[in-house]
């Protein structure tokens, strides 16, 4: 049941790639400690258009969006290690207390 459901993201993958664009899909594949979203959460990055879904908002999303652009340019998938443990008292938006691994890949209609 649940959230900008994962099914909606798959629907969005089809719509966007059918329009001929290359998008990046990020999936949380491992977590440790306190992170905002659980394993399996997905985000689709469609540069110049929009972002569908979330892997945790401020907590590490910026890093993953940067990786998404690299992956679209290179075509090679990446596993991004997001560390949200630094200086827990800094009150920076990117501090949640845990770490996660995010698999980022480019998707296009072949």
């Amino acid at each position: 049941m649940k959230e900008t459901t994962i099914q909606n993201i798959h629907q969005a993958i089809l719509e966007k790639t059918n329009q001929g664009r290359t998008v990046a899909v990020a999936t949380i594949v491992a977590t440790k400690g306190s992170v905002p979203r659980k394993i399996g959460a997905k985000m689709l990055v469609d540069p110049g258009y929009d972002i569908v879904g979330t892997i945790g908002g401020g907590c590490g999303e910026g890093e993953v969006i940067a990786a998404a652009h690299e992956v679209i340019a290179s075509g090679t998938p990446q596993v991004v290690h997001v560390d949200l443990t630094e200086d827990i008292l800094s009150l920076s938006p990117a501090v949640c207390g845990g770490t996660m691994e995010v698999f980022v890949e480019a998707v296009f209609r072949s």
Partner: protein, 282 residues
């Protein structure tokens, strides 16, 4: 087990399979290589669970060991309704190459049947549709079950409250909310559900303590299973002090989420009690 395709699936084909499985009401798992040689990184296959229970593998990894492990991983993920545990597997194949496989399971959306198309049903149908339920709204008044009143509902039906679920399949994953305009109709629908062999995962009924007590007495007198009566969520929803229809809808939606995610309904601030725990030690 049947096999289709001899190659891994493209991401777009996989997305198509997932969208199609959702339409068919079937569960499907994707298995993805997240660590391994760069030539196979990101390759994926899908394993679909058919309605009668069989598994179909769609796509194939080159390495045979990976196919077997993927099958096991997918089977586990598809069988547990809310997979919490092992979502990946580390393995080393005969050549010594190390891999990590990641599985994501897609279960078909839960069916929610809202009985009674009144004030509570309107916000409830929108909120639960946002949560990903497949929402059906039924009422015996045709002019109430309209797309205009329920833009987010998947299905609208006019029914007879004496046989409300005649054209609806109810299974053990269904959720049913009884909020008709009259307690009499709620009760008839409730009794109908308790007489059926299948017990849905959620039955919630609105009502005051007195009315619910009277309904339970009647159900006991009708020789219905007391254990099943005890599992009815009546009054329905969480106690968040709701008064307006929208507030009640939120409280019911919150109860549905709580049951599927196994929460306890307590304010997190109270549960964690961080200030008192860490700053007020004597």
């Amino acid at each position: 087990m049947i096999e289709q395709n001899e190659l891994p699936l493209s991401a777009t084909t996989a997305a198509e399979k997932i969208v199609a499985a959702k339409k068919e009401g079937e569960a499907i798992a994707l298995v993805l290589i997240t660590h391994g040689p760069s030539t196979v990184l990101g390759q994926r296959i899908a394993i679909k669970k058919l309605k009668h229970g069989g598994l179909v593998k769609i796509g194939r990894f080159q390495e045979n060991d990976l196919n077997n492990q993927a099958m096991e991983l997918a089977k586990e993920a598809l069988e547990s309704p809310s997979p919490q545990g092992d979502r990946f597997r580390d393995l080393t194949v005969k050549s010594g190459q190390k891999y990590k496989l990641f599985v994501e399971a897609h279960h078909p959306p839960s069916e929610l049947i809202i009985v009674g198309a009144g004030h509570i049903a309107q916000p409830l149908s929108s909120i639960t549709a946002m949560l990903g339920f497949n929402v059906t709204v039924i009422d015996d008044r045709e002019e109430f079950v309209t797309k205009k009143r329920f833009p987010k509902a998947d299905r609208l039906m006019k029914v007879d409250f004496m046989r409300p679920f005649k054209d609806i399949t109810i299974d053990q994953n269904s959720c049913i909310v009884l909020v008709t305009r009259g307690h009499k109709y709620d009760f008839e629908c409730l009794r109908f559900l308790l007489r059926s062999q299948v017990e849905p995962s959620y039955i919630g009924m609105i009502g005051s303590r007195r009315r619910i007590r009277a309904a339970f007495i009647q159900l006991v007198n009708d020789q219905l299973d007391p254990e099943r009566i005890a599992r009815i969520r009546a009054p329905l929803g969480l106690d968040i002090g709701s008064e307006t229809p929208t507030e009640i809808a939120i409280s019911v939606a919150a109860e549905l989420v709580l049951l599927s995610r196994k929460g306890d309904g307590m304010p997190l601030s109270q549960k964690e009690n961080i200030f008192n725990r860490f700053f007020k030690k004597g």
